[in-house]
């Protein structure tokens, strides 16, 4: 097997990893601070894709229409995030995993039905936006230039989240609350307010990722489950709640998928879960995670 083919697979793995990171970072952040495993995170991503589509269609602005639509969709999802956190999740923090999973899974079903009601069951698509319409040649193979946009966006999000979590006062509070929310509350820091904004941030990232995913493939029902399953693999491998872990987990899942497809396409997804199982056996809390106290 020649180097150029391998490199091409590697690059498509990186592109996939970037999208996975976009979605999984929101999931991991929410879990890390709120300790709620949000099964509906993929649904927010899907809803973000549909909302982006509708805004993009309504705007009819050439060139920048897609970018504006994605940005607005992220804001819309942030708003929906406020509603979900305030009326639903807030009641779940003190409950156990089974209840959290049941309620967030109910959200998955509700959002699926809302999408069916609002957009029907058809496949929608957004063409790749300017200036990422074409493909560039990587060692003679065509590589969609839009992938570079997704990779850059992924990198930008890594930098933004790193800055937020490690370089700001909010970040100090986030890391403190992830470890001991009771102590943070006893120091007079309004925990419910913090939780709302963390969830909103997660929802906005999900919405943004959904918008970005539009020109990637089809906007369709089912994209929620497809992404959340892989995102769970990402955060289990990397370690729940860890930013470097999510980054590494995305990279691993993206690469395993890219090379798995080359090796045996029908097993690509299975390979991901083999890696996940291996991590669970050797290091159940993930590569960068820490054991539950």
């Amino acid at each position: 097997m020649s180097f150029d083919i391998l490199f091409n697979q590697f690059m498509s793995g990186i592109a996939r990893a970037s999208l996975l990171f976009l979605v999984a970072s929101g999931l991991s952040l929410t879990f890390g601070v709120l300790r709620v495993l949000n099964f509906a995170h993929g649904s927010l991503y899907m809803l973000g894709a549909f909302v982006t589509y509708s805004i993009w269609k309504g705007l009819l602005i050439p060139v920048v229409g897609f970018y504006i639509a994605t940005f607005l969709a992220a804001l819309v999802m942030g708003g929906i995030g406020i509603i979900i956190e305030f009326f639903l999740l807030r009641r779940l923090y003190a409950r156990g995993w089974p209840e959290q999973l049941l309620v967030t899974y109910a959200l998955v079903l509700i959002i699926t039905d809302l999408v069916k009601l609002g957009w029907g069951g058809e496949f929608l698509s957004i063409p790749r936006p300017v200036p990422f319409k074409g493909a560039v040649s990587l060692f003679g193979f065509p590589f969609p230039s839009y992938n570079f946009f997704v990779i850059l966006l992924g990198l930008a999000l890594v930098i933004f989240l790193w800055w937020l979590v490690y370089r700001t006062r909010i970040g100090d509070i986030i890391r403190a609350a992830a470890h001991d929310r009771e102590m943070v509350a006893a120091l007079g820091i309004p925990i419910p307010w913090l939780f709302t904004w963390i969830f909103v941030l997660g929802a906005m990232i999900a919405g943004l990722s959904g918008g970005v995913a539009g020109p990637y493939g089809a906007i369709a029902l089912g994209m929620d489950i497809e992404i959340i399953v892989e995102c769970f693999a990402v955060v289990v491998i990397g370690g729940m709640g860890s930013l470097p872990g999510t980054l590494l987990g995305s990279f691993i899942v993206g690469q395993v998928y890219a090379f798995g497809i080359m090796f045996k396409p029908e097993l690509a997804l299975a390979f991901i879960f083999m890696v996940m199982a291996a991590v669970l056996i050797i290091r159940p809390w993930g590569i960068f995670g820490r054991p539950e106290r």
């Binding site: 006062r169 100090d172 509070i173 890391r175 403190a176 992830a178 470890h179 001991d180 009771e182 102590m183 943070v184 509350a185 006893a186 120091l187 007079g188 820091i189 309004p190 925990i191 419910p192």
Partner: protein, 232 residues
């Protein structure tokens, strides 16, 4: 009177822990709450800060009823809680641990410099992570962190627990400095020790009730009470 606790009953789940505790702390006073492990001292402090709210009774801080308020609303009124298990944030540096608690308000006396001059050791450890500290350093840090909220009333749970005698001596001096600034303190101890040297008055707790109250002088003389409730 800055704190007035009246007849509080507190439970952990279904187990009844505090049976009608009443106590008072005056402005500027240092009061210690003595009793064996399991007497309910920690639960009393947790009841006041709102981490384990009482089911009945009344807790008034500066005349305002605070039962029913969550801790993040009680603390900004001017109550600082220093837990016995320190609860340092391990992923934050010493400086971040201190700064994360800071609260700007009028008449604030504590800032990073002031805290560092009270605990010079912490300044040396400035960029160390919270999980790299010794027990004594952690104890200093947990007090420093709470001081940054500029509390009028400081609740200290076993500040000398597990510390070497030399460290306890230093801690005694530091708490004395905090007292000089006019900060009111309620300190839990399982024995006559660090806290009593600073205290004006003492309450003795046993099995979730107050058994004795008086000035420190009275307590020192009362061998019978000490023997009965303190394992002296």
């Amino acid at each position: 009177m800055i704190l007035e606790v009246k007849e509080i009953h507190t439970y952990y789940g279904t187990s009844h822990i505090l049976f009608g505790i009443s106590l008072e702390v005056n402005d500027g006073e240092v009061v210690c709450l003595l009793g064996r492990n399991g007497a309910g001292k920690t639960t009393t402090l947790r009841s006041i800060i709102g981490l384990t709210p009482p089911r009945s009774g009344s807790i008034k801080f500066k005349g305002q009823e605070i039962i029913g308020k969550p801790p993040y609303r009680i603390a900004p009124l001017g109550i600082g809680f220093v837990p016995d298990d320190r609860r340092i944030f391990p992923d934050l540096t010493v400086r971040q641990n201190i700064l994360v608690a800071r609260r700007e308000k009028l008449g604030a006396i504590w800032d990073l410099n002031r805290v560092y001059s009270l605990f010079p050791k912490l300044k040396e450890l400035d960029s160390h992570m919270g999980n790299q500290l010794s027990g004594g350093e952690q104890q200093m840090l947990t007090i420093a962190r709470t001081l940054m909220t500029n509390p009028q009333l400081l609740l200290l749970d076993e500040p000398g627990e597990g510390l070497a005698p030399l460290v306890i001596r230093a801690m005694e001096h530091q708490l004395g400095e905090i007292k000089k600034l006019g900060t009111t303190m309620l300190i839990c101890e399982h024995n006559v020790g660090l806290a009593t040297a600073l205290s004006d008055r003492a309450y003795l707790m046993d099995k979730g009730t107050i058994r004795y109250q008086g000035t420190i002088e009275e307590l020192r003389k009362n061998e019978e009470v000490k023997k009965k409730y303190l394992m002296v």
